[in-house]
């Protein structure tokens, strides 16, 4: 039983970073595809399309920070907490990155047609980022109170 709990602890510690990375990979790929499409159609402003498309990369950074915060000896006492914090924070980061990628794709598509709404079209992506930050910050707070 102890070995299983320890395994869960390791899964939580590494999982938060891995899930964040998966989310960032998918999110950046979706937004990146939209940026490429928009570049085919427009004559300029390519840099800002690429700039928007990398927005979902922040989730993997949050995942790395949470992973280092969770880093401590994995025991039967610390394992369950590491699993709970790591996996659930990781899932939040995963989903936020994918959906942020979709909102970025829509923002690129809209800004291509109407450049004047470029700033405003980023608001949904920024709000999604805000929720990812919640998951990240509270993972750090909870991890600070863990035993060990």
């Amino acid at each position: 039983m102890n070995e299983f709990v320890v395994a869960l602890g390791w899964a939580g510690m590494y999982g938060v970073m891995a899930l964040g990375a998966i989310g960032s990979i998918i999110g950046c790929a979706i937004a990146g595809q939209a940026a490429i499409g928009a570049m085919l159609e427009t004559e300029g402003g390519y840099g800002r399309y690429i700039g928007i498309s990398v927005m979902p990369s922040s989730q993997v950074i949050y995942g790395i920070v949470v992973m280092f915060t969770l880093q401590r000896p994995v025991t039967a006492e610390t394992g369950p907490a590491m699993f709970g914090i790591g996996i659930f924070a990781g899932l939040a980061l995963l989903y936020s990155a994918i959906l942020q990628g979709k909102t970025c794709a829509s923002a690129i598509n809209a800004a291509k047609a109407k450049p004047e709404i470029f700033g405003l079209s980023l608001a949904p992506a920024a709000i999604v980022e805000g929720f990812a930050v919640f998951a990240f910050v509270f993972a750090l707070v909870i991890a600070g109170g863990m035993p060990g």
Partner: protein
Amino acid sequence: MSDRYVTLMASLPPHVPSLFANRQTPISRLKLDDRLQMLEPQDAIDLALIEELLHWDRMSMEMTDAQMIERGKQTCDRLDNEFIKDIVRWRLEIRTVVAALRRRHLGRPVPSAGSKWGYGAWMKMIETHWHEPSFGVERIYPWLPEADRLLEESDSLALERLLLNQVWDYYGRVVGDHYFDFEAVVVYVLRWDVIDRWSRYNGEAAARRFDRMVESALGYYVSMFA
């Protein structure tokens, strides 16, 4: 949302919300076809089938009604996507209602039961209510009385405008939350076809008007030097 078509949809210029605000298609057919090469092979086949059935320019004038209907049914059978099937069915039903209006306008009798003169769920209703102004389907097609009136007045341009606007609005309604998938591509291309049709219609009407003006101007000078 299918990620596959994010690049394709983002590479297409948007349609203006109002059909009649479009003076020309937002992208040339050559360029559109070039972009559509990003489609998956099966999706490209499906789109070609849909356009072949629904695009006016690709319809053969030599086909009989029965052949057209058979082709519509075959196309629906070959499509797997229910969303796209619904679009095709809706368009064929619209054509059926308009065909009924035209038949009645030409003084033809009620189509005999079982004859292949139309497509869809409203054929029986139309046959039963043949002599009513809107065939008893006014609730489904509230624009029918106006279409009937325009047909009576032989105002073909206004009728074309009315029908194209119905199709345009329908596409706008059904596309819903399809932004980056095959459904969005199909609706985009079909809307492109509507703009193409309207802009050509405008061009043809302008050319006819120009011819009439030239004739009348020449007529003036011909009479002047006569």
